[in-house]
């Protein structure tokens, strides 16, 4: 209890983000025909949190003053939550009442990660030099509108062209405290983690071995990357969860899954440059699976856009578009420098054994090969046990493979020294692919555990939760 105030202030910010992103869950709930199951309520909470992050990011991109963004955001969030609370008896409960077991577990998980996130100072290279240095610039210059320091060649190491979702969030927290140090801005990681934890409880229906697998693989698989200030683990987890929701949408055709998948992908898009690659791979995967799976083809978003889906698609793009225009206007260089010269570098490296070096780094040193192997082993076991696997089970793994191919090309075309670039980054960049393979592996394990579907679980879940 004596340490409670040290944690509580972060938890108090979570309703701010849920309130900011409330419009999407409300929109989906209005179109949801049946009472929400408890795991769907967890998904609603995750959707609200992730959408809130995107709304906050969009405000931060459009308005320069962090103080104004926080006050305006708080007004909107409070108004939304109060409106929902007074709309009808238990309306907040009907939306987010995922059951005390899930709330307690989610709270405990966040609390456990609070320790290293809040009380270990920023120490690792990218965290100090990129994400939190950018946040420091935003904090001290009072917003993102002053180009002076962003184009200063002395700060070229900070990769100013990287997306600003995390730096803006960290700068806002420092602004609220009125000071900058190496601890307070790190609370932004805890705020990013909350929708992930809720999203995981939105995926699993019951406490089973496959649920233990998913929670363990996702939350422990990234190791210290979840608390040291790097953004890669968060990119991987948002991407992995997005692929899981989209796979479930391909299989079950639920509007809630589609919108949640799109919003989680939107957070990934605005978190790191690799988010663009993940989004491109996911869209390619959706096209392929859209034609493979009859149900998905009928409701493919490009063919049948509901207002909620449209809003979900639009929300990440506003912030992304605003930052893309800003970095064009500021003429910020991209150190990967993909362009006409890239082909020349790729061809040169093909002759110098580059494919072997990159392939080995991605699959062996990065660990993507082991994750893919686990997924294939699970699929083989499912085959031996004659478990029918929906086509969508393969969707995250296919996207992960496409992402690996994309990474392969990026490394082959890098203007940096190849071995140095691989040594300093591959263990982090490959996390997205690992999350994709683990996502597919979970779907296989879930199918093995319950080969006839989860009708029993659904019945258990929906009991006592009238809409």
């Amino acid at each position: 209890l004596p340490v409670a105030p040290s944690f509580a202030w972060v938890y108090l910010t979570l309703p701010y983000f849920a309130g900011l992103g409330l419009v999407l869950p409300l929109c989906v709930a209005a179109q949801h025909g049946t009472p929400l199951a408890r795991h769907e309520k967890a998904q609603m909470a995750a959707l609200a949190g992730a959408a809130g992050l995107l709304v906050n990011h969009t405000f931060g991109m459009l308005f320069s003053d962090p103080g104004f963004v926080i006050v305006a955001g708080a007004v909107i969030a409070i108004a939304g939550l109060v409106w929902l609370a007074t709309r009808g008896q238990w309306s907040l409960w009907k939306m987010f009442g995922m059951g005390w077991v899930r709330w307690v577990l989610a709270g405990c998980l966040l609390l456990i990660f609070s320790g290293p996130i809040l009380f270990e100072p920023l120490q690792v290279w990218d965290a100090r030099s990129i994400w939190f240095f950018q946040a420091k610039e935003i904090y001290y210059t009072g917003g993102l509108n002053i180009a002076k320091d962003w184009t200063n060649p002395g700060y070229a190491f900070a990769h100013a062209y990287y997306p600003k979702l995390l730096p803006l969030l960290a700068a806002q927290l420092a602004h609220v405290w009125g000071l900058w140090n190496e601890y307070i801005p790190k609370a932004s990681l805890l705020i990013l983690l909350a929708p992930i934890v809720l999203g995981l409880f939105g995926i699993v229906r019951n406490i089973t071995l496959s649920a233990v697998f998913l929670l363990g693989a996702f939350l422990l698989g990234s190791r210290e990357e979840l608390w040291n200030g790097h953004a890669d683990a968060y990119l991987a987890l948002y991407s992995g969860l997005s692929l899981l929701f989209l796979a479930r949408w391909l299989d079950k055709d639920s509007q809630l899954d589609l919108v949640t998948g799109v919003i989680f992908l939107g957070v990934a898009l605005n978190l790191k440059n690799e988010g663009t690659l993940v989004t491109a791979c996911a869209l390619t995967g959706l096209l392929v699976f859209g034609f493979l799976a009859d149900r998905a083809l009928r409701s493919f978003p490009l063919l049948k856009l509901s207002p909620c889906t449209l809003l979900g698609l639009l929300l990440p793009l506003v912030g992304y578009g605003a930052w893309s225009l800003t970095r064009l206007y500021w003429e910020l260089p991209n150190d990967v420098s993909l362009g006409a010269d890239s082909l020349h570098r790729v061809l040169e490296r093909i002759g110098n054994g580059g494919p072997g070096i990159v392939g080995q780094a991605l699959l062996v040193q990065g660990g993507a090969g082991v994750a893919a192997g686990l997924f294939l082993l699970a699929a083989m076991l499912a085959g031996v046990l004659k478990t029918p696997l929906p086509k969508a089970t393969w969707f995250p793994a296919v996207v992960a493979t496409l992402y690996l191919l994309g990474l392969f090309l990026v490394y082959m075309a890098t203007p940096q020294d190849l071995r140095w670039h691989l040594l300093t980054s591959v263990s982090r960049t490959v996390l997205v692919a690992i999350a994709g393979f683990f996502a597919s592996c979970f779907l296989v394990l879930e199918a093995i555990e319950s080969p006839t579907g989860s009708a029993g679980a659904q019945k258990f879940e929906t009991s006592g939760t009238p809409k």
Partner: protein
């Protein structure tokens, strides 16, 4: 043949199939726990949290709520340079190649990001130099500490 047929028959029994399914999932979970390796990360994470709950809370840094708290993670040389800049109210600075030369640590970047909002500038009047370096024409040494000099140049 008879024996193998019996095994297959046992495996096909409904109860046994249930156990086989759970066993298959357990194998994957166990392999993942080794590969991740969750078996070492989870206790480490729990221990990090447990230390916070200890009565003296020694693990919570005393400066975590203070401005500039946690700066101690920077290399000592960088801390000295930042102290020189702050104590002399410098707003913009530049540095010599010699003063940031340090093969064992990344002094250059740590100085640039650690000193911020004191800005790096190619036209700054204040210089950080190594004590062995000659001052430029018209430059005046303002302060020095542990082999590092802060100079103001015209």
């Amino acid at each position: 043949m008879v024996f193998s047929k019996r095994i297959f028959a046992v495996c096909k029994a409904p109860g046994m199939l249930h156990w086989l399914r759970n066993g298959a999932v357990l194998v994957i979970v166990a392999l993942t726990a080794v590969v991740v390796p969750a078996v070492t990360i989870a206790p480490d994470l729990l221990f990090k949290f447990y230390r916070i709950l200890l009565p003296n809370r020694a693990v919570i840094p005393s400066d975590w709520r203070k401005a500039r708290g946690g700066e101690a993670v920077l290399p000592k040389k960088v801390l000295v340079m930042i102290a020189l800049l702050r104590e002399n109210d410098v707003r913009e600075f530049r540095y010599s190649a010699a003063v940031v030369h340090d093969p064992d640590s990344s002094v250059e970047q740590r100085l640039a990001e650690g000193a911020y909002p004191i800005r790096l500038s190619n036209v700054a009047r204040h210089w950080l130099l190594s004590v062995n370096e000659p001052l430029g024409a018209g430059c005046v040494a303002l302060d020095s500490r542990e082999g590092i000099v802060l100079a103001r140049c015209p």
